[in-house]
Symmetry: C2
Subunit: 367 residues, 2 copies
């Protein structure tokens, strides 16, 4: 077996729900990666977190974490506003970087970040872990193998109760368009990425966006702030395979929340349901192929699960991130690029830009 | 009670599935309308049909039917291509006209037909009978009464197995764009009409259309013909109430067919499901208002059923047409315009035109 990859996580605080809930348990389950360092914004919390997660080292500066000889790979799991600065800080260490999605607060930042890692030939991964989900890969393969025949149309509907008119202090940045982290970029980004990963890229699109909630109430601090982010995003267009595509992303919805992806072909149909945004897992698959008269549950073949048995019952929240780390570890060892990287992130940023431009101008965008 | 309205049906043949399945049984159930005349394209079938339906008179010319003193009101229930000519023929009789949807093969015809009836001040009705459906009116009232609060978004999805790549000789006209009768105008028209009736008009829209099936196989005559009609129509836009709207109309789909309308508000949600296009009925309503934690079945109050008890168990196919005839009979007696008429039909033709223009140009249309 290859040498274990020693990971340092920037934003690996016990107070950071995301890393604590995903990267850290994912790495714990894997043989090929181990956690050696935690970086947070102050040394006290860093030490507490390193101790809690049994990491050898604690840092309050990203550059110090990256430079440490016991760190082989750096995960950037901080607020999206800090991605650019964090990646810039760790760059001189010239180590592989796994950065959470969105890559930058905007496409300009993301393009620069892509240039940084590519000019240095650093292994890089973007946290679009829905691409690692067993159900997503199974659907991708079914579509490619002709299970539904020619794809006529595909619908993606994701509705969540959050990111509407009610939030809290910790999530306030999600309602400020400038930060780059919001319903459209995060929920929309992950789901659109999985959608196009399974079905192919958009070649043209139109869009409608709206802010049905012009304000958000931060309930824990009893404050109302202006909301500059969209809570309704509708996209229609055509994919490279000539299927028409219909996307509805909405926040602040009280009922009927969750995800539904329907793929209609001239010979069959696939439906993927989930209770929440696609990267969180809990996918339910139904399908009917050329010989089926009606939809039935599709069981995902075992080989789509590339994790230790200890993770196989995870609904996807940790499993998808574990599969991402496993893929990235292999990339690092073998010099491959199987994990989606900053280039894919830039492409997704550009897709989101095209959606925004279509919504603003009312003109179909050709990609 | 007012005098019974004596109806003549052009296209009231025993061989015409539509009139035989809707207008004729609907009129049989009503006290205020009776069938007195049947017109078809030849006297033999007209006589046979009149006898079968116990109508006193048979005609092979629309103008003769309309002029007969025993006919008070004329129903035009022929192929859409014949609507313009049929309405023109019966016009000199200056009697109320109930014409099936689509009114004309195109908006130019429809505008002329509107002018004909309005300049003569003839009572007129258009066969958009989903507006008569109890569920549709109940939803319209619930939305108006604030059951869901402010409407954030509304989705309309109608998928049918027909009108794709397989048809038969009798339905061949549905695949020829010139006739004006196709998936978009018929299925799209009825469903969009009910959607905007419940929720308000579109003020802007974008659209995507596609012909995923470029040919249609007419199975009974083993012939393949070119198909010039769209089988995929996607519309996104905003309604007058600022809700965003998302419409997907598709034909030639093997599974997951039927209708779903979802109305998302900031205080509640309504879902209308049906196994087929909206004017056929069999509507299932679920909803959650401001005080409900989850969706539950919504029972339609009895007063939305304005038909004799003998029709109350009808799923809507006949009931909606019966309610239309009852409404139109009242209009005729009282000089009102409660039934949707040619003006509403023209408005719908114009909405469809805007969708086509948006799809062709890629530019958002403002209505």
């Amino acid at each position: 077996m290859s040498k274990k990859i020693r990971a340092g996580i920037i934003g690996g605080s016990v107070n950071n729900g995301w890393a604590k809930g995903t990267h850290i348990p994912a790495i714990e389950h894997l043989n090929e990666v181990e956690l050696t360092a935690v970086g947070t914004s102050n040394m006290e919390s860093a030490k507490k977190s390193a101790e809690a997660f049994q990491a050898a080292h604690a840092f309050d500066k990203a550059e110090d974490l990256a430079q440490h000889p016991d760190v082989d790979m750096v995960v950037v799991s901080v607020n999206v506003q800090e991605h650019y600065r964090a990646v810039k800080a760790i760059l001189p260490a010239e180590k592989p970087i796994y950065c959470e999605w969105p890559l930058g607060s905007n496409t300009t930042e993301a393009l620069e970040m892509q240039d940084w890692v590519e000019s240095r030939q650093l292994n890089n991964a973007i946290g679009l872990q829905a691409r690692q989900a067993p159900a997503v890969n199974y659907v991708k393969d079914l579509v490619a193998d002709g299970y539904v025949g020619k794809v006529l149309s595909a619908n993606l509907k994701i509705s969540i109760d959050g990111m509407g008119g009610v939030g809290d202090k910790a999530s306030a940045y999600l309602y400020d368009r400038k930060t780059g982290g919001n319903l459209f970029t995060i929920v929309g980004g992950h789901n659109l990425d999985a959608f196009t990963y399974m079905l192919g890229e958009f070649k043209e699109l139109s869009a409608v966006t709206a802010q049905q909630f012009p304000e958000v109430e931060l309930v824990d601090i009893q404050k109302v702030m202006e909301k500059t982010t969209d809570d309704q995003i509708l996209i229609t267009g055509k994919l490279d395979n000539d299927a028409v595509a219909n996307v509805h992303i909405q926040g602040g919805v009280k009922h009927q929340t969750g995800l539904t992806i329907e793929i209609f072909g001239d010979k069959g149909t696939i439906v993927l349901d989930a209770p929440a945004t696609i990267q969180f897992g809990s996918h339910q698959l139904r399908g009917a192929g050329p010989d089926d008269s009606e939809l039935q549950e599709l069981l995902i073949p075992d080989h789509y699960y590339r994790v230790p048995d200890s993770l196989k019952n995870d609904a996807g929240f940790v499993l998808n991130v574990a599969q991402a780390h496993r893929t990235f570890a292999k990339d690092i060892h073998e010099g491959t690029s199987q994990a989606p990287g900053f280039a894919e992130a830039v492409k997704l940023h550009q897709l989101l830009d095209a959606v925004e431009k279509a919504a603003q101008t009312g003109e179909r965008q050709y990609l």
